[in-house]
Symmetry: C2
Subunit: 345 residues, 2 copies
Amino acid sequence: MSSTLPKFAFLDPQIDMAHGAGGKATRRLIDDLLGPLLYGTDAPLLPDSARLEIAGSQVLATSDSFVVKPLRFPGGSIGSLAVHGTVNDLAVSGARAQALLVNLVLEAGTETAVLAAELESLSEAARAAGVKIVGGDTKVVEKGKADRMYISTFGIGVPIPGLDPSPYRVRPGDRVLISGPVGDHGITILLARGDLDFEADLCSDSRSVLPLVEALAFVEVGVRWMRDPTRGGVATALNELAGDTGLGIVLRDDDIPLRDAVRSACELLGLDPLHIASEGQFLAVIAAEHAEAALGVLRRTPGGADSRIIGEVREQPSGTVLVANSYGSSRVVDMLVGDPLPRIC
Amino acid sequence: MSSTLPKFAFLDPQIDMAHGAGGKATRRLIDDLLGPLLYGTDAPLLPDSARLEIAGSQVLATSDSFVVKPLRFPGGSIGSLAVHGTVNDLAVSGARAQALLVNLVLEAGTETAVLAAELESLSEAARAAGVKIVGGDTKVVEKGKADRMYISTFGIGVPIPGLDPSPYRVRPGDRVLISGPVGDHGITILLARGDLDFEADLCSDSRSVLPLVEALAFVEVGVRWMRDPTRGGVATALNELAGDTGLGIVLRDDDIPLRDAVRSACELLGLDPLHIASEGQFLAVIAAEHAEAALGVLRRTPGGADSRIIGEVREQPSGTVLVANSYGSSRVVDMLVGDPLPRIC
């Protein structure tokens, strides 16, 4: 043991909030520490779900932890978010959630009413999303050793016929779609904390995107890739795609749907809306010849009226996400760096 | 909303440590709050795993959270414990773990070396148990909002041919077996905290019990029921069985395997060893005519040399666990009440 080489390339001496923000630091934590130590050399391309073959059947599994603060916010709460996050990770992996397991870590002293409200929120969201809660586990830690409650959800799903999204299927010329406005969830959480001298009529978009994904599958528009732009936002999700494929992604600034409240809050705070999390939208890459059909399907599906084609995939600039404005110039949008919005999910 | 009846019978105004201890308070939390709100009226009999039919195949799924303190202790650490706990929950449900997902909630400021050690411990335990870590999620909370790290693991497994354990299969006359000494894990954790003026040469028994369970399955001894006596110990696991079946369980005090260090620590602290958690043992109920054969199989399997038949199932006293001593008297052993040993897993 005296002179073994380090087994990982992660050099940060300790974990800080940025490692949980979903951006560059999270990617480094996964690529340089969790990957080599936990997943071995055959680490996956950070998929939202793991695809398993069990007893001859394809099963998709995903897991998420939720530490959102505050627990309740306009448009949702940690309970519903825990269901939507897991159902959506499966949906963008091309799977319909069948069963959820729910783990709770509770802080001693948490009021029963607060816990009961979140259990009801979990249950209601699961019923609405058509998924059954089949098990779980509960632990309690001392007062001051958690923040009322953390929830871990685990989802198991089955492949949706007609969908097999993968970064490897993405080709230059493909179009990039989004199912609705970006950043509603992240800015809602920030405002709900009351730290800002700024008010807005804004709700989290937290919801199941499964009906929209299933609508796309049904009409066979050839979905190449999907991702829900949660932590790190659209910019991080698309940078990961660009990095994984070596392709470039060019978005048109004017086409990115954005509510005024989100735009204003981002201007005030110096944040890029493309770094702000959504919890009820998804990105899809669709072959060019099917893009208008896909858009039509999404727009006709309840909850999809604000869908847009926001850009396209190109050969160049390799591994990069560009946003072009109407004046003919463009800017590079990188993954999220640092953590301007801690604990948004 | 003004005059609806309460939807649950849980009357404690807040959550306290006892609700996480695995005993009576945990059972009330599950039966009176989580059950009605989360699982609906068709709540399961607290099984260790959920049995799902996915695409025509039987799949078992289980989930656990780990908040053990300290993170490292003689014989194991939170990382290996997280693997063993989940593999064992599946094993005693009659399933072989195929895949694990691992969620981390990390406290900002946790040293990378501490995290890396647990990732290695997870990975090594998974390899030894023959299960693959296929995914997970990582969140970070502020300093003071967790205790370095909490781990949630989710396991998916497939049924082991020849095993279909269920409380419904237990009959009067069946024998109760245990795979080794009770309470090693719980007392090890207590001593590792250094709160006691007591030292002992004791290690956690944390390990995968899958090889022992598979050995039983292979010889077709007719396993009726299994459970790993973790939080709440042997007494709680058997009281749950007695409660679920309405049968009585009578243990013989002299036959319960117990290390001297565990006996001494329990005497010193006024604890019943039957309430102390094991993390590498399991209880099995076997038809009387197969009990000696089952014992022989366990004892010949590596890690099973200390297996014992410790008692039997009877018609009476209904719903009760009795321990009979060699002087002809017996005592009722109830589920764990309160939480003498917080955060042991």
